[in-house]
């Protein structure tokens, strides 16, 4: 009878983990360290050996030396999402955490557990004479979903990710990139005639594959259309012609045979690697792809990016995923943690995210690494929107993804997709309570 205990136990494991964590992560002797700059605890989403961790660690060391604040860091890695809840429940929350905006929303903000960081945006970036709000374009944070109190400044971002089509700038076939969806399809046809696949995709990489439909829905219907359709408890919203049109585009794309063969039975990252080796022209994914595919890039591969081209709808929003800091409402020392956020946004420190961690920062005056220059420009020049309009993860798992997989793997038509989503969506909202 050990199995069910196993499952039941992992609820208890949270409690045990909390006890263990409080032993090492807690504030310790509070009164004693209140001297100079105070102190705070920080749980990082990075492991100590990751480049981001090194950049943040260097900043913490400087911050401690300059302000006399004592920072207790735990390099938790991605497990934060499972650990933060029990820590908050046990009233032993760290003072500062970092995570992807989507996870901060679901693990903290959506349940009213994230502190309002508006005051950080009013702080001065030390030594620059500018406020945090002046160096962080507000459109990024404005795109975030609001918490129960209507706040969306529960995050101070330091790294941006977007989704785009990546391609080889050195490929003679791709000298001019398509400006509209129709041009894109035309290019795909040209490539097909040359026996070259247009797009590489791994069939099991659903989240990534969904990016295309997600973008097309925005292009055809404007930002927020998907979110509205998801929230409709009757599912009827999916019957809008605009949404169906976007789904149809994907159906046609699949039927057009533009996707590198074998994708319906491949396991990530097999086809991504094939793309890196030049077997397909484009690959749509998050902006981590250039570094992920780095080791496999064909000789002379020049990573460039282009947005999913606009349709006649003319909408040009760019997908946005932010990584940044948040403070749990129950944190005991939020003030020094907030000071550190403003401190880390200093140009010289934040630059490390670009130069060492090879990612895009939210500051327009810090150039992105060369391979992400296109993405940085895309983010800067277009309105921002959150990927999949922040649809809940379990909605994606239970409703959208099963239907989408059928569509993407060529087993369902647009109408069948819509019917399947509608049906599953009604059940989802019935059982969502």
């Amino acid at each position: 009878m050990r199995a069910p205990k196993g499952t039941a136990r992992f609820l208890a494991a949270g409690v045990v983990a909390t006890l263990a964590l409080t032993a090492c992560g807690g504030g310790g002797d509070k009164g004693a360290t209140e001297e100079k700059g105070g102190q705070f605890t920080y749980w990082s989403m990075w492991k100590e050996t990751e480049p981001q961790a090194k950049v943040i660690k260097a900043a913490i060391d400087k911050f401690q030396a300059e302000t006399g604040t004592k920072v207790t860091v735990e390099w938790q890695g991605r497990d934060i999402k499972t650990k933060i809840g029990p820590a908050i429940a046990a009233n032993k929350a760290p003072d500062l955490i970092d995570q992807g905006a989507d996870q901060i929303f679901t693990s903290l903000a959506a349940t009213g557990q994230a502190a309002d960081l508006s005051s950080v945006y009013d702080m001065e970036v030390p030594g620059e004479g500018k406020k945090v709000a002046d160096v962080l374009p507000s459109k990024y944070v404005d795109a975030l979903p609001k918490d129960p109190e209507g706040v969306n400044r529960y995050l101070v971002p330091y790294e941006l990710v977007s989704a785009a089509f990546y391609y080889n700038g050195a490929d003679p076939d791709l000298k001019t990139v398509p400006q509209t969806w129709d041009e894109f399809i035309k290019l795909c046809d040209t490539l097909k005639a040359k026996d070259k696949a247009c797009v590489a995709s791994d069939g099991d990489n659903s989240w990534t594959n969904e990016l295309l439909l997600d973008y097309l829905i925005v292009r055809d219907n404007g930002a927020g259309a998907l979110g509205k359709a998801v929230a409709d408890k009757t599912g009827a919203a999916w019957d809008q012609p605009g949404l169906k049109e976007s789904v149809k585009r994907v159906e046609d794309f699949v039927k057009g045979g533009y996707i590198l063969k074998g994708y319906d039975a491949s396991k990530y990252p097999a086809q991504q690697t094939n793309w890196a080796q030049g077997k397909a022209a484009f690959h749509i994914d998050g902006s981590w792809v250039p570094s992920e595919a780095q080791a496999n890039l064909a000789d002379g591969f020049q990573v460039k990016a282009m947005p999913v081209p606009p349709t006649k709808g003319g909408n040009t929003e760019a997908d946005l995923v932010m990584f940044g800091f948040a403070v749990p409402k129950k944190a005991k020392n939020p003030e020094p943690a907030k000071k550190f956020m403003a401190y880390f946004l200093k140009k010289d420190l934040l630059s490390g995210i670009s130069t060492e961690a090879k990612n895009i920062t939210p500051r327009a005056d810090i150039p992105a690494p060369a391979e992400l220059a296109d993405v940085q420009k895309m983010l800067a020049d277009n309105p921002s929107r959150i990927i999949l309009d922040n649809a809940p993860g379990d909605y994606m798992d239970k409703v959208f993804t099963p239907a989408f997989n059928d569509l993407w793997l060529g087993k369902a038509t647009a109408d069948q997709f819509v019917a399947k989503v509608k049906e599953a969506q009604v059940t989802y909202w019935k059982t969502a309570g």
Binding site: M1, A3, A8, L11, T111, Q113, D204, W207, D397, L409
Partner: protein, 312 residues
């Protein structure tokens, strides 16, 4: 008379007692700590899970009373139905395959030379982390991978799409069977080794063929062990988790597709999905259902498999 009789009885009881009394006195000090551990580490969490399953809880804020609401959700959630069905498939189909293969191997290995070595080889997959299989499957069963190359070599042009979502549940069961066969073969072989050779010799003299020797000697003589193995299998099949997590999406890029979920996966994703608000109440309810499910299965299995012990 009665009075005189009752005195010696009492006296006798008092006289016989010292050892028993000592034993009784030691009963709680000996059993107590183990029992306390058991209660604290096992029963209390189960009780807590049962309690949590009656609430809506994000793991941080206040718990909202929901009564049997979470169980109602499970009743109506197709994802949970799929999870239960997959778990049952692993238990029944995977179990049958594992035991048939284990017995076949036991029979084949019983008289083989170098069987200790063969046994180690068979046991080996059980030592390897499921992670390895999850990753290896991506290469081995890729559209242009070694398996399909081999099939093409034999002229099979319509190679199967091994890793497509439709085939994943079957692939998962096959992997589980492959990794556990060695484990159960080892246990069953240990039992079969204990069967005296003369029983087989006698059976052969009586003209029994291989199947009859298996049916009338091996099976009855190792029945107790087989029963234990069946219970172990049932219990472990409800825990299947990491292999599901690794097979589809690899947990790096996407959650495992709902078509492959097991109850353990359902519990995990309800509580710890990266991008939805944690539903600890629902997770606990699903865990309670699995607990009841495995409990019922084990009891029924024990009933069905109960036999009088063969004593030599």
């Amino acid at each position: 008379m009665t009075a005189t009789l009752s005195v010696p009885t009492r006296a006798r009881r008092a006289r016989v007692d010292p050892l028993e009394r000592q034993q009784r006195r030691l009963f709680w000090p000996f059993v107590g700590p183990a029992l306390a551990f058991y209660v604290i580490l096992f029963l209390a969490p189960i009780g807590y899970a049962a309690y949590t399953s009656l609430y809506k809880w994000d793991g941080m804020g206040a718990m909202q009373w929901k009564g049997l609401g979470n169980y109602e959700i499970l009743l109506n959630d197709p994802a949970f139905h799929t999870s239960v069905l997959n778990t049952l498939k692993i238990m029944v189909v995977g179990g049958a395959a594992t035991f048939v293969i284990s017995f076949a191997l036991t029979m084949a290995l019983r008289e083989m030379r170098g069987r200790m070595f063969a046994r180690s080889v068979l046991f080996f997959p059980n030592l390897v982390n499921a992670l390895v299989f999850g990753i290896a499957a991506g290469f081995i069963f890729a559209p242009q991978g070694p398996v399909n190359q081999l099939l093409r070599l034999f002229g099979v042009e319509a190679v199967p799409k091994w890793l497509s979502v439709d085939n994943l549940p079957a692939m998962i069961i096959a992997t589980i069977v492959w990794t556990s066969t060695g484990y159960y073969t080892t246990i069953i072989m240990a039992a079969v080794d204990q069967i005296p050779r003369y029983l087989y010799e006698a059976a052969e003299l009586e003209g029994a063929n291989a199947w009859q020797r298996f049916r009338h000697v091996t099976l009855p003589m190792s029945w107790d062990v087989v029963t234990v193995c069946a219970v172990l299998w049932t219990v472990s099949s409800v825990k299947v988790f990491e292999i599901v997590m690794l097979f589809g999406g690899g947990s790096i890029v996407a959650n495992a597709p709902v078509e492959t979920w097991t109850t353990a996966m359902y519990v995990y994703l309800s509580a710890f999905s990266a991008t939805s608000v944690p539903k600890f109440g629902l997770a606990a309810a699903a865990a309670m259902v699995s607990l009841v499910m495995v409990g019922v299965f084990v009891v029924v299995l024990r009933r069905i498999m109960r036999r009088d012990r063969v004593v030599l």
